[in-house]
């Protein structure tokens, strides 16, 4: 089978964080860990090309995946294998997205990462196989990925025994009895001593270690970001008032304050009456500018990033967070104020 292998800028040998903004490209043959993967796969499968993208670029340009998959198709690839991404979040997200994009395009898709990689949720049901936590585990991780590649190539589904990780899709259906009757039955089960019975498995939330405090606010570049449904008046991007599927960015250049009539909140979770009377109370541009003038903060970033946090799924919120982090890192921001509503 003709395979395209995906790696980030680091494993392609282009560079580290300094090169994380590298755009997508395809290079002939196997590269970096792909060489070892090709050797493990033997003659049966061929890595015809390596797809590469910088982690920040991939996180902030989701279309990189479709672009690389279409390049892979042009080279006659039937399968896209990505990673291993270990616990690296942006790399994991990129691997999951390109594997998902391959599936969507009718190719086979497979990614490898550690079960705690926050990018795992982006795989949208496409196969992901477990890797080690850090690149020191490359050898074992590639053994697992090669075995999984062979199995997926035959058209078979990976199972937990093959090291398949990631959430299994949950789908809606009608139960025999109403939720009220099932709740009463669950009370009886529970009182009978069964402490495990449930219809909803407990979700496994990752925790984020806060970054170290900035040493000198007067030297730092600050960005304002918000989940308060803060948009230019008229909502040109049609940002949703609930269940947001996207985020928006708009320039703050030349603005001293978020004036009523210039900005508004489309958040559906609270009464926007006071927010719209003074949009600075959602995005504190007036105070931030004052502090900038006083020299209390170094400089305010020229744009804000925003979405609506109302009925948002954890998966979408996590994706927005990773994309924002990549954007802000690329813009050399040292401090971020996230106003929540």
């Amino acid at each position: 089978m003709r395979i395209v292998h995906y790696v980030n800028q680091f494993f392609a040998g282009i560079g580290g964080e300094d090169a994380a903004g590298t755009g997508p490209e395809l290079r002939d043959g196997a590269l970096g860990p792909g060489r070892r993967l090709a050797a493990l796969l033997g003659d049966e499968h061929e890595i015809v090309a390596t797809a590469i993208c910088g982690d920040d670029y991939a996180a902030s340009h989701p279309e990189f995946a479709a672009e690389l998959v279409s390049g892979a198709r042009e080279r006659g690839a039937e399968m896209v294998v990505a990673g291993p991404a270990f616990t690296s979040g942006r790399y994991g997200m990129a691997c999951a997205r390109i594997a998902a994009a391959a599936s969507e395009a009718g190719l086979l898709g497979l990614a490898a990462m550690h079960p705690e990689n926050p990018g795992l949720g982006e795989a949208a049901g496409t196969s992901v196989v477990e890797s080690g936590a850090i690149s020191r585990h490359m050898k074992d991780s590639l053994d697992g990925l090669a075995a999984a590649t062979r199995k997926v190539a035959t058209g078979e589904q990976l199972t937990a025994q093959d090291g398949r990780i990631g959430p299994v899709a949950r789908t809606n259906r009608l139960a025999q009895r109403s939720a009220a009757e099932r709740a009463v039955a669950l009370v009886l089960t529970r009182l009978g001593g069964d402490r495990d019975a449930t219809e909803i498995p407990l979700p496994d939330f990752d925790s984020v270690t806060p970054a170290a405090p900035i040493s000198d606010a007067a030297e730092a570049v600050f960005a304002l970001v918000t989940e308060g449904g803060f948009v230019p008046a008229g909502n040109p991007d049609r940002l949703e008032s609930a269940r947001a599927s996207k985020w928006v960015r708009h320039s703050l250049d030349g603005l001293d304050s978020a004036e009523s009539g210039t900005f508004e909140s489309v958040h559906g979770g609270f009464s926007t009456q006071w927010a719209n009377a003074d949009p600075n109370r959602i995005l504190p541009l007036d105070v931030a500018r004052e502090m900038e003038r006083e020299g209390a903060i170094g400089r305010l970033h020229g744009e804000y990033l925003g979405t609506t946090g109302n009925g948002t799924t954890v998966a979408d919120a996590r994706r927005f967070g990773m994309e924002w982090a990549a954007e802000l890192r690329q813009a050399n921001i040292q401090a971020v104020i996230l106003t929540a509503t």
Binding site: R173, A179, D316
Partner: protein, 409 residues
């Protein structure tokens, strides 16, 4: 006193006979008259009709007391004094509902036929639909209040038509109290959304916002002590009709092995500190009532998960087995985490399905409420692809529905 309604029609005068409810169009219009409303229009939508109702606000089950028997909808129709005793006449199978635009009201849809019909309790009732045009310059709060007063006034008026009719069934509501029958004592803990204008629920006509949990009886619910003014999160909302017919209260009442010991209403505060206070207080209240188990329900998405899961944890700490009923928000493909805030001690949860899963609603003949579905910018009668989240009460955690979610085999 249950009077079944199987047919609904508009007519000259209001009458009820043998399952047939005729609605006197002019008299009902008069009952809805209010300075905040320029015009109201009435329509019927019955199960099986190729009708879609868009922008559904509240829905109320008609109920009334015989003369001298006290009032219904206390705090709105009558004085805010305790109700819940004596006989109440209800028109089961009928609902009075309002549909149209209000600020903050997320677009709620009922299909009277097709795949979405069985997901909504209002897909199975004969609905008197009130459409409205606000008066010029009327404040939206006044429009909302006029609709709320109007719906309960009409609901009471329609049920009064059945006061002299022989009931189809006589049902006794469970009467919580201290019994020494040895059965496990179970509470129903029902969270009411309290997020201000257009997102509030009224108990005796007052918001529970800022307050602490309180105990009421199933009889009070039946008499309309809880009236909804909450128009967010269509699938997860609990309209007045579901409070009147609280499915968990009914299921516990029908169970021989368990004793319905208390019904606790709690606000859903908007900040974490108050969510924790209300949760701890509700658990203390349940402990004080000597309970063995509690079923916790919620209203709304996202942050309202915390109001359920915090209570479940506090109840477990008090030695009370807690079961939560929750909707899932697992993303379009169902692979995301199902809850926003998970319990840390309790584990027993019932799922009312994944909010984000898409479904296709076939085109229909007639739309009521709103001409266009703003969410998709499509005519309301079109074939629509929408998340379950917009189907009115499809995931109500008061437990009416059969929708659930499980791992794909």
């Amino acid at each position: 006193m249950v009077h079944e309604v199987r047919e609904l029609e508009l007519g000259e005068r209001t009458s009820y006979s043998a399952g047939r409810l005729a609605v006197g169009e002019q008299s009902v219009r008069d009952l809805l008259r209010d300075p905040a409303l320029a015009e109201v229009r009435l329509a019927c939508a019955a199960p099986g009709d190729r009708v879609r109702i868009v922008g559904v606000l509240d829905a109320v089950q008609p109920c009334a007391k015989a003369p001298g028997g006290g009032g219904v909808f206390p705090g709105l129709l009558g004085p805010a004094l305790p109700v819940g005793r004596g006989e109440t006449h209800v028109l089961r199978g009928a609902a009075v509902l309002a549909a149209g635009y209000l600020p903050r009201a997320q677009e709620a849809i009922i299909d009277m036929s097709g795949p979405a019909a069985p997901l909504s309790p209002l897909g199975a009732t004969c609905n008197l639909v009130v459409e409205f045009t606000p008066a010029e310059d009327a404040a939206w709060e006044d429009v909302d209040a006029a609709l709320r007063r109007g719906l309960v006034t009409v609901a009471a008026n329609l049920a009064e038509a059945a006061l002299d009719a022989e009931p189809d069934a006589v049902e006794e509501l469970p009467e919580p109290g201290s019994t020494a029958n040895g059965k496990p004592r179970v509470a129903v803990v029902t969270n009411l959304q309290t997020q201000g204008k257009f997102k509030d629920v009224f108990v005796y006509g007052r918001s529970l916002s800022g307050g602490l949990p309180t105990v009421i009886t199933p009889g009070e619910l039946d008499d309309g002590a809880v009236v909804s003014g909450q128009y967010g999160h269509p699938a997860l909302k609990n309209p007045t009709i579901l409070h009147q017919t609280h499915p968990v209260v009914a299921a516990l009442g029908a169970n021989d092995e368990l004793e319905l010991a208390a019904l606790v209403l709690c606000p859903e505060p908007v900040d974490q500190a108050n969510k924790e206070l209300v949760s701890a207080h509700a658990a203390r209240l349940c402990a004080g009532l000597g309970l063995d188990a509690a079923i916790v329900t919620k209203e709304g998405g996202g942050n309202a998960d915390a109001d359920v899961t915090l209570k479940m944890d506090r109840l477990e700490e008090e030695g009370i087995s807690a079961v939560g009923i929750l909707g899932e928000m697992a993303g379009r493909d169902g692979t995301g985490p199902p809850l926003v805030v998970a319990p840390t001690k309790a584990t027993a949860m019932v799922s009312t399905g994944n909010y984000d899963e898409r479904m296709t609603l076939p085109a229909c003949e007639r739309a009521l409420g709103r001409d266009r579905v703003a969410l998709l910018d499509q005519p309301s009668t079109d074939e629509l692809e929408l998340p379950v989240a917009v189907i009115y009460c499809a995931q109500s955690t008061l437990g009416w529905g059969r929708l659930t979610c499980a791992e794909t085999a």
